[in-house]
Amino acid sequence: MTDLAGTFTDVRRGMIPAHIYNDRELFELEKQEIFSRAWVFVAHESEIAKPGDYVVRRVLQDSFIVARDEQGQIRAHFNMCLHRGMQVCRAEVGNASHFRCPYHGWSYRNDGRIAGLPFHEEAYGGEEGFARKGQRLLPAPSLDRYNGMIFISMDPDAEPLADFLGDFRFYLDYYTKQSRSGIELRGPQRWRIKANWKIGAENFAGDMYHTPQTHTSVVEIGLFREPKAEKRKDGATYWAGNGGGTTYKLPPGDFDERTRYVGYPQEMVDRMKKTLTEAQQQVIGEDGFMISAATVFPNLSFVHNWPRVADSDDVQPFISIRQWQPISENETEVLSWFAVDAEAPEEYKALSYKAYLMCFGSTGMFEQDDVENWVSLTNTAAGSMARRLLLNSRMGLLADGTEVIPALTPQQFHGPGTAHTGYSEYNQRELLTRWADHLDRPATPAKNFEVGTSAPAGKAQA
């Protein structure tokens, strides 16, 4: 048995009991207390652009059909037939007006409503026996969107997504709103790694310290333009709302010059100036910080980088969105999408895709070495010695809590939240403190839904 109260106390002071990265009891708690409440990313609108388009995505073991119905409305329904519980959609992507259960032939429109119930009269005595009218697949308890990103929550009383994201939206816009049209997503690549889901989330949230060591090889082969990854310590990490991330410090210049420096053509820079707020432009143009990796609690991460993709000094930016989908306490399915501004020139899109493939994803040269570390860490965290070891995650703080480098002032960093330059683990502590706070709350039982009786199966989605 784990001393939960002691574990949470240790985590909150930045001392991490190593077993939290491979602990079945804690994983069961995470399923109940985090993934049954938090907003979880499932898809982007661009993946289901046309009426009838759908993708099937999971939140832990629960499969959801995320579809655009014939009226263009985006919906997410639990992928389980109301009759005997078969998966009504067994593909992962496609276009369909209806989903038909192969077991007994019940069918549903892409807005979730029952369309066909074989032998309704003969088998049930019609509406009196089974109230078909108004019945639909079970909707996701909550669904909300930001910049085209579709999130669902298993909590019907979840706070609005905008409130959950909070000031992190300021930073999310850099990745997802480079023009009025926003991003289009491709993929995802999916693969399973023998690592705990929290490790990737922490790494992307704030680990600038690993770059010079873990990623030495990509600097040596010239994928990185800068001769040394040590430049990372000049960047800032920030935490705002329910997310945080890392930045690189750019050479002197204004917004246009610095954005071009990382490889954006002027026409894209011009569009960014129309969609980004003054403060969002100041972080780049005045403060000189360019966003790189980030994580939104609990398991959604982003990365923006600008490698060399050909034998020249030019660099090419790319964006990836990724989810650390927990499978068990020691296995994670990574879903890694390539994202690109929808209004970007076709040639830019092609090279940005190339940059993504070279750096991140299943074959990415950065990601290959990251995963090797995370698998090893997870493996080591399983044993009894890991229960005795408290990992020091207090980087950036002296023993008395004094900051090694004081926070940037609002004049030095125009974004919301708190930002620090230098190597630190502020963001990893923010993430794991939220983790502890979620696990430390009393569970609320979910309500049941009855099918075919007079009680309607869940309320219709607004």
Binding site: V93, R186, W191, S217, Q368, D369
Partner: protein
């Protein structure tokens, strides 16, 4: 021109477009024997992680493509993720991948994996050009890392375009159709 994975790729414009003609060549046809030998030699190069040697067997205009497979309904008309791949490489990007393995800091292969590329179902087709052959094959890669972890597998079908050059046959185009939608390997720090 037939629409192929390679021709549809945003990064495939430079690739050779020769396609198969007619039925597969007889197994005692010298062209088949040469293609088969090329593939067997390649499998041994890849098992040994002799990537410098492997790079020399690729043409300058190679397109090395491994689309992401997706599960779709029967009749959907597609079974790869539109516009997304695991590998979508030219000679430059492959050379960077190889250069990385040659540094002392490619941690994911230190200690190195034990690799075995099992090769089967090889058949060869002529093209309209005598110096180009199409070769189909199946490959099953077994990869084991460390001492205690079970190994992992990747199964795939491949379509290769081989070109006869002054230095012998070289690979000018490869399309790898992996049989997993979700890859069961920690990364693809390997070549198929």
């Amino acid at each position: 021109m037939t629409s192929t994975h390679s021709s549809r790729s945003a990064l495939g414009a430079h690739a050779s477009r020769f396609e198969r003609t007619g039925a597969s060549l007889a197994f005692d046809d010298p062209r088949h024997l040469q293609a088969y030998r090329w593939l067997v030699d390649e499998a041994w190069l890849l098992d040994a992680q002799d990537y410098t040697g492997w790079l020399e067997t690729l043409t300058e205009d190679i397109h090395y493509l491994m689309p992401v497979r997706v599960t779709t309904a029967l009749g959907a008309g597609f079974d790869t993720s539109p516009g997304m791949a695991h590998f979508d490489e030219d000679k430059y990007s492959l050379s960077r991948r190889v250069a990385r393995f040659l540094t002392e800091h490619a941690w994911t292969e230190d200690p190195p994996s034990r690799l075995r590329h099992h090769l089967s179902n090889v058949r060869t087709f002529a093209t309209v050009d005598d110096d180009h052959l199409i070769v189909d094959s199946a490959t099953l890669l077994f990869r084991n890392r460390g001492d205690i972890h079970p190994g992992s597998l990747v199964s795939a079908g491949r379509e290769d375009l081989l070109r006869l050059t002054a230095e012998g046959w070289k690979l000018a185009r490869r399309t790898i159709l992996v049989d997993d939608a979700v890859i069961r390997m920690q990364n693809l720090a390997i070549f198929l």
